[in-house]
Amino acid sequence: MTLGEFEYLMLTSVARLGEDAYGVAIRQEIEDATGHPCSLGALYTTLDRLEAKGFVKTRMGDPTPQRGGRPKRMVRITAKGARAASDFYNAVMRVSRGVTWATK
């Protein structure tokens, strides 16, 4: 099963955040990396798609006061997800070999 670009960004962010991966933190990671805003709609629908593919697992965390007593949706990458992200990364590296992008 292949990954889309945004799915890859999300998997990478989840992997980087480790135990602290949840909605707001993942969104911040993606926005910092891309410089573009990331909507909650895109975030949660992609998260569901990744979970359906077996690339991540989610669970509801404990409620916290700074969230108005509401829980976080915690995310963890699976071995299958790590493999898919690695394959995607290797494909991007292979196809990019020898190419330089002229930017002003």
């Binding site: 707001v24 909650l40 949660y44 629908t45 509801m60 509401r70 949706r73």
Partner: protein
């Protein structure tokens, strides 16, 4: 998202809309999203955009399934239109009868057996018609709810709109030839709204709620209900068909024509259209069918368990 004290009114309204919209999300997702918004200190406008964006994506994904479409094509459009026309036809007929009886009322008439018989037959027909309307609406709502469980807010809203607006641009013979009677607010507007609310919208929403909480009816109840609706439909069939004859858009006034019996002025005789009344029965048939199927599946599962 919860602290509303000290917020300007517009802000409070926006947060109310956010709350309402977020109810369309799965409870766990709703909590997570509300928590995310609270943690980031989102303002009302941003929160509204975020929640609506997610709701639209979720709803769009649900419409990839065939069931909401079946609910739309099989219930919302055909039954919503029929119920809209039928409710108006009967409400208008009752408005006319009521205005006549009120205008000409004399206690001395009660001594006349023929007059009494007429009154009783009108009341019986009215009650039967409205019972049929309630039965059709309840079963329509039930099927709508069970076919489009997670999209039921959208399909329910569309159903209500079709019922309320389905007759715009058309009229009935009662209205066309009795402008004086229908110029008053009660006969012209209130009675129709009352009939549609009490006999169509509330039963349909009740049926929808029932299917959402109990998922299916026991087979015996489903069969008894379906038989009752078949009897009521057979009784009310003429009125149902009449609504289609006279409610056609673009033909606001139907000129009297001779009916199959050769009498002029029986344009209200809609017998050629009687099969349309069968459309009203399909939700009842669906309920019996699904109840039977679940019962059969339950029996075979039990047998498999014993084996």
């Amino acid at each position: 998202m919860g602290d509303e004290v000290g917020r300007p009114p517009l802000e409070r309204i926006a947060w109310c809309v956010v709350d309402l919209a977020s109810r369309l999300l799965h409870p766990e997702e709703r909590e997570a999203v509300r928590g995310d918004l609270a943690e980031t200190g989102a303002r009302s406008g941003q929160a509204l955009r975020e929640v609506l964006g997610l709701v639209v994506r979720r709803q769009a994904a649900l419409w990839m399934d065939w069931r909401p479409w079946l609910a739309l094509v099989g219930v919302v459009v055909p039954l919503g239109m029929l119920l809209s026309h039928v409710s108006r036809l009967w409400a208008d007929g009752n408005a006319l009868d009521a205005s006549l009886y009120v205008r000409l009322w004399d206690w001395a008439y009660l001594g006349n057996p023929g007059w009494r018989r007429d009154l009783v037959s009108i009341i019986a027909a009215t009650l039967t018609n409205y019972l049929a309307l309630i039965g059709w609406s309840w079963t329509s709502g039930f099927v709508l709810g069970s076919l489009s469980r997670r999209t039921r807010w959208v399909t329910a809203t569309l159903f209500c709109l079709v019922v309320l607006l389905g007759t715009v641009g058309s009229t009935t013979t009662a209205r066309a030839y009795n402008a004086m009677v229908f110029s008053g607010p009660f006969h012209g507007v209130v009675l129709l709204r009352l009939v549609r609310t009490v006999c169509v919208l509330l039963p349909a929403l009740w049926g929808m709620h029932w299917s959402a909480t109990r998922s299916r009816l026991p087979l015996l109840q489903a069969i008894v209900g379906a038989v009752a609706i078949v009897i009521l439909t057979a009784w009310a069939a003429r009125g149902l068909e009449g609504s289609l004859v006279f409610g056609r858009v673009g033909r606001p006034v139907t000129m009297p024509e001779s009916g199959p019996d050769g009498f002029i002025g029986t344009a209200d005789d809609p017998r050629p259209l009687w099969p349309l009344s069968l459309v009203m029965l399909w939700p009842a048939a669906y309920i019996v069918g699904t109840s039977s199927w679940h019962r059969c599946r339950g029996s075979s599962n039990r047998r498999a368990g014993l084996a």
